[in-house]
Symmetry: C2
Subunit: 255 residues, 2 copies
């Protein structure tokens, strides 16, 4: 009897060379394979939903693995965590049907990109956000973000050299929120979070959308420029690819 | 002409052996002395407001140093930051009178202690909060916190072996706030922040208050027990000293 176990995985990507297995580099996938193989006493390979880049964080990436173990599905999380470093945590585990594949499902996928705007980077935020010492026009960024919603050809927001067959994707929801780092509002500077939910994203798409919205916040582009940037179908029309460390994969919702 | 420069310093305390100079250990103070001495070309020693323990973080510790340099006071922040690692930042610099001392002033001092309550520690929060896998009764913690406000003898909340002459301190304000880690409320678990403002704190006082409020949140103590714990004047009556990593020195307000 083979069972398929699904895990929801959170990680601080700072110390890892991304999700995907590599020779001679420690990755999220290699750590999970090692921990689960150690638990089950045989070689196990996980299949992940999203192959996040080096330095990208996650609250809820998804992976599956097959096993014959009688361990109750919900107990896997704690048992795997006991064999993982503290910067990777299995948040939840459950059992799915043996044909359930994390990349072959209709889903809504959510990312957040954080930008710290202020006098200097906050040391405790330095690993999880991009920094700018310039003032941001957050209202302009909110207005600009609205143009991304819907089904579009996002070729302008795809890193060169991508292998994607189609560059059409649907963004269901995009929001820009500014907040003070201290929950009590003592902090005079602010962090801007861009949250985007879609049916899938091209390579570097969220980091390029964030770079384009940052350009708007800095006054280098206007909100009304966004439709033309999308229509251009040209990577050079959009803003820069912001650094990996500001990006967090928040999670998946499967239908 | 000797000038006294005041700096406001933020740091991630994870990698440091606290604020105070030590032989054979890197501290916040040793890094600041090195950076400022390098900038000014002679040996400079800072005097800090708070000698935070190893692992404690800060958004706004205060220090002063004396110099003859003609550098405009507000330019010191950037010049010193260029010589510091990214986990220490001078947020602001200004000039004060030559008799201004950061520990001999009437002030209001604010700390925050963060407790993550949920299924597992979040990897991106692991360096900045204490973790419990138990549910917290946040309303009981809020009620209990109210008993700490005002002038009291806090001997029950002072680490054994402290050299303090008096254990009487005044807490001006104390609040307990629960929030979701994702600003969009996706995260099902929560972080509880205890924020306390006073005229000064005994050794480990905030970490012991946090441990006592955690006991209340876990149902091990009742809110109404707090007055008796204060009156006991006995360290053993209070809760545990929570770990340093959950504590952040938010800042000072001088009158």
């Amino acid at each position: 009897m083979s069972r398929r176990i699904r895990i929801k995985v959170a990680y601080d990507g700072t110390a890892y060379h991304g999700w995907q297995l590599q020779s001679n580099a420690v990755t999220i996938e290699s750590e999970l394979n090692r921990a689960i193989s150690d638990l089950l006493g045989r070689e196990v390979t996980v299949t992940g939903a999203s192959r996040t880049d080096a330095g990208v964080h996650a609250l809820g990436n998804i992976a599956v693995f097959d096993c014959d173990s009688p361990i109750p599905a919900e107990k896997f999380a704690g048992a795997i965590n006991a064999r993982l470093p503290e910067d990777i945590r299995v948040v939840l585990s459950d059992e799915v049907s043996s044909d359930w594949h994390p990349r072959h499902q209709d889903c809504r996928k959510t990312y957040e990109y954080r930008i710290r705007a202020g006098r200097c980077m906050l040391p405790t935020e330095r690993l999880y956000s991009h920094f700018t010492c310039h003032r941001l026009d957050v209202e302009a960024m909110k207005e600009a973000s609205g143009y991304f919603a819907g089904e579009h050809d996002f070729a302008s927001f795809c890193a060169a050299g991508s292998q994607a067959e189609s560059t059409v994707r649907t963004i269901y929801d995009i929001e820009v929120v500014a907040f003070k780092e201290s929950v009590f509002g003592i902090d005079p500077d602010k962090t801007v979070v861009i949250r985007v939910t879609g049916n899938g994203f091209l390579y570097n798409m969220v980091r390029i959308i964030a770079g384009t919205l940052l350009d708007v916040g800095l006054g280098r582009k206007k909100p009304g420029d966004i439709p033309d940037i999308i229509k251009a179908l040209d990577r050079r029309a959009a803003g820069p690819t912001l650094p990996a460390k500001g990006l967090t994969l928040i999670g998946y919702e499967y239908s």
